[in-house]
Symmetry: D2
Subunit: 358 residues, 4 copies
């Protein structure tokens, strides 16, 4: 199913870049949970466009309007639904794309999939704008998670050639994550942010875009969450993370780095901590063994491709005339989606982790 996700929670997302509104329904949330809407708005502001010159200049208030599921700020147990009006739309920017699909974008595949009936305006349902719904849902879920002792945070690990220092997968803490998960352009080291901004600005000046990697961690997950085979934490997280447009890779713990490791290096030795709990000395597993949490931090990374909408002239086809042609994409686009995608990755993780804990 395309836009519905979840096992214990059921998430449904609707809308397109230029429809009247976008929205989200969260079914089967626990009842009697207090939701701080200011904290939700803060998360949404981290993702919202128009805040920073690394991002599109399309300005949207992105104020979520709660339609149901909250009463006096408390979840009622009924589906929590919210919509966000689309106000700042410029439909005329997209008129050419119906016949001239943008390379790297879903214009062509959507046209085939939906028999040409897809809404091309702003990318329609494939627009990154839909991630505002994910952030809303994640902002709700993370509050419920935090009440259960789980904290999620992420940072830009790499943009182009610029790199941030990685999380310490053993010692990353709620404090570290809380310092990140309220920021725009979260990084562990300030110097990395400047280098990354330089990469983005250089791409922007070239009418181009640039990709990156986001690293995310969750601490406080108890051991024993998840299931073998297809019910593993990796499966569940990947199944939602790949729902974020532009994600082309997901890896856990040592990830692709395991290919160069010996078992004796990769295995995380168990030991009893002073508190009588079992820990691992290292955490190459990213907190997951056999699909099930070990109690150590969950650590994963997602690869984010460069925004396909760039100002350079590109080769494409004319689907109407059935001939090759060129295209110069106009409109407002992010030269790098990574900074705004950080809260989206956190949100997706929060939704998935809560789904598994319930």
């Amino acid at each position: 199913m395309s836009s519905t996700w979840g096992t214990n929670i059921k998430l449904s997302i609707f809308g397109g870049s230029h429809t009247e509104a976008i929205g989200v329904v969260l079914d089967n949330l626990p009842a009697n949970e207090k939701i701080d809407l200011d904290a939700v708005r803060m998360q949404m502001a981290r993702r919202a466009p128009g805040k920073d010159k690394t991002a599109t200049t399309r300005a949207e208030a992105d104020e979520p309007q709660i339609l149901s599921g909250l009463l006096n700020g408390i979840t009622t147990g009924a589906p929590l639904a919210a919509i966000i009006q689309n106000t700042n739309t410029r439909p005329k920017d997209y008129s050419l794309l119906k016949t001239h699909p943008r390379p790297g974008h879903a214009d062509y595949t959507a046209s085939i999939r939906y028999d040409g009936a897809n809404d091309i305006r702003g990318g329609g349902h494939f627009s990154g704008r839909l991630t505002a719904c994910l952030v809303f849902a994640g902002a709700v879920c993370r509050q419920i998670l935090e009440r259960r002792g789980v904290t999620v945070g992420a940072h830009a690990l790499q943009i182009g050639a610029a790199k941030d220092s990685a999380f310490d997968p053993v010692h990353v803490s709620a404090d570290v994550l809380n310092a990140l998960n309220t920021r725009f352009f979260a990084v562990n080291e300030a110097v990395a942010e400047q280098a990354m901004r330089d990469e983005i600005e250089n791409a922007r000046l070239d009418a181009d875009s640039i990709g990156g990697v986001i690293e995310c961690a969750a601490v406080g997950m108890p051991a024993g969450i998840g299931s073998p085979m297809f019910g593993g934490v990796e499966n569940i997280l990947a199944s939602i993370l790949y729902g974020i447009p532009a994600v082309k890779g997901v890896e856990f713990g040592a990830g692709f780095g395991v290919s160069a490791l010996r078992g004796s290096e990769n295995n995380d030795a168990f030991y009893y901590g002073e508190d009588g709990h079992v820990y691992t000395e290292t955490n190459h597993a990213g907190g997951i063994l056999g699909g099930i949490t070990t109690g150590m931090p969950i650590v994963f990374r997602v690869a984010v491709k460069p925004t396909p909408s760039i100002g350079k002239i590109q080769n494409t086809v004319d689907l109407l005339e059935k001939k090759n042609d060129t295209l110069t994409v106009v409109g407002r686009h992010d030269p790098c989606i990574v900074p705004r995608a950080i809260p989206v990755v956190e949100a997706a993780a929060a939704i998935a982790l809560l789904d598994m804990m319930l």
Copy 2:
């Protein structure tokens, strides 16, 4: 759900390393499809243990016994069920593991998850042996896929420091894949196999193990398969691939490499081929845009961690005495799971691609 997977096809896998049998049910397969059981056995032989000194010496016939769903070699439309007897079991090898969980293995997390009732013998339901069921199911699905023009194949891209050449993501063909997908230890270049075998042998001589990367491609998938957001080809493939024990990363097309790419480099320009179909000049997308197939080859890679069961002494805990201890794993184990995992990755891909095509 742990051991059940699928949307249009429903796959259910059961059994453990040392239970009476392992087995698999495939519900909702198309009816009236001829299944060549010799071809199924050939795929299973590629994964079977005891064939090669890179693998465990546990010898299993791995003969699938069809219980239902086939009549005179034709699918009836009713659930196709098969079991594989476990014959060559040595339960005494595993007696210590109930209290001394193996680092890197699911012993500890399973014990927490299942309240100590998990079957520890041979890793129980977490054993790599369960992948024989995946291969059976995949071998059935790939025959149906091939009849629809889709071919799947994979190779060892990397083991330790040894690397094979990658697929050409634009030109990889059914011929290339067919030459790989019947082989044990499939590689594109023979020289790579030798270097990889050396890596494995060195690890084995050190009582250690080594990880790797498997690259898989599928050609012939028509454009327009898959859905946006959570119904994307990446989501669906990842959700089954992470069900293969030891997989710690999944990436599509340029994968994590996108982080260093500009949009102008990563975007795949469209053009009309001489046959009047739309192609892309490059294929950084791995054949998937917006979660939907482009018609170009689907290309992805999975990271396979080094087998956690190694002969070296390791630090672990004694869960009974609640103290730190050491463990030397005995039993028969693969120094590298990559060669045997190649057909497993192909099988998982075949199941997922057929599920999406139906």
Copy 3:
């Protein structure tokens, strides 16, 4: 999952009687389908309150606002979402019910289920008002179904002691159903309507309510739709029909009447019609054998309980004081929900049948 339904289509319903809005999302509808919104409004008008003295006097415009999924009246393939504002709410009517649950209503069970956090206003998410969302979704689905040759219609078969003639399960036709499925208070025989209105009026004058039975048929379903065991047409229809508040029974074809039948009476003999198609002489099966359509009309009946909200004094408990008490329900309620439930049953059937055809 409570408010999400479907296999090929995914239906998500949200809202409560007194929330800002109620709404519905239909994911995975076929693309490129023209939807006539006037026809949708007409179906919603059949269910809307305030139209008839058999129904509550709460007047609601029930104008659906399309948020996404339609472009120029054509489905885009993206989720179709619509909301209906709640305008005519009287929250003060319900203040007592938090402590004094109405007999026959979900006040008590919701309070337990949701730890007292449930929205009691107007029954919250349990309100019959949510069926407006079902009717919207069904009105969309039936247009797509009609284009595939399937017509759905229903009538009040019984209200109290008053009975309408049943459908002829062999000969019921699209014409018969089309004459019913645009009417308020649809019956086969006009005389039945008057008798039923008398039953309702008598109940209303007694500050009471009355139950009934709705019979529904679908013609034009091709043979071969549905699956054995849990994927049968009966399973799928029942799983959505019991989502209509007040439904306490669902039966297909001869239904509970089979208990008094011999096999020789109940079996429907096959024969070839003049058009070369296979038909059955009778249709005790209600068009379904082994969970799969026969091609004959699908016929089923649902039992609708009397509205629990009645004006009579009733025994209940005071959950706060933990003592027995009495309650007189005030507010605006239907003395009989059957007439307004007819289009709801049709809608649920249309959603389910389309889901199975896709």
Copy 4:
């Protein structure tokens, strides 16, 4: 999905009347639950053929062979799989049915659905024999349920014109149910059994069959289980009960009887019992309000059609010659399936109730 069911538990059933074996997988059962296999066998014996002259003379040992999921009689948390060999098959009885579908049976619809590839032998996957798998699964689930205080039992309420007394929906107790749920041909009143046996014998002597109604109750379910709309106890129970071949109706509490009731009659008044718990004075709701359990007994009835396989000559078609023809069904068949279906209904209820409690 045809033969897979469940939300928290995942049930997968495979096999046909004449395949090598039939079998069942139960995924996600709670771990560490002791399962008494003798109690399981006792339940299976209640359904097994050849025990009574009301039933088919096909004798099957129906001994379940556990393949995985139990270790020393304790659930491991891994999928519990069992198979039952098909030993006493007579394939030649069914040779004609491929072209001459039996009226009232799935032969015709399966042929359309599966493009003629369906296994016609003994009804294939549509055979009532598959209910042995349901009984196995239910026998496991009911042991887990009983440990949580829930008891399920059923009886033949009606066969032809013969009727048993109904359960007292308020006072039916675990003792009453336990006295029934180990018996073959369970009834509340011994006199009813004799009348029912007479009905069956008369049908058998006429080479005919007879239908009936089974009433089932579950006591001990706590209040607050289930969800609104599509997650209601009625929806969930109906979705599995219609998976039992021959079921054509399902009703809860007063069921279709609500059509003649006033709200003042049908509403169940709440009161505080001496133990401080909330009860209802009557139980027309069958223990379910708004889809959620009230804590009162759950009571429902299923209509069971007369076995379609009868010895009389019947009209049917010749699908090969495309002409009308007649058929006399040979083979061994039950003149009434009701007695053997009683434990099947209990089993389905047990599976569904456990699924909802987890």
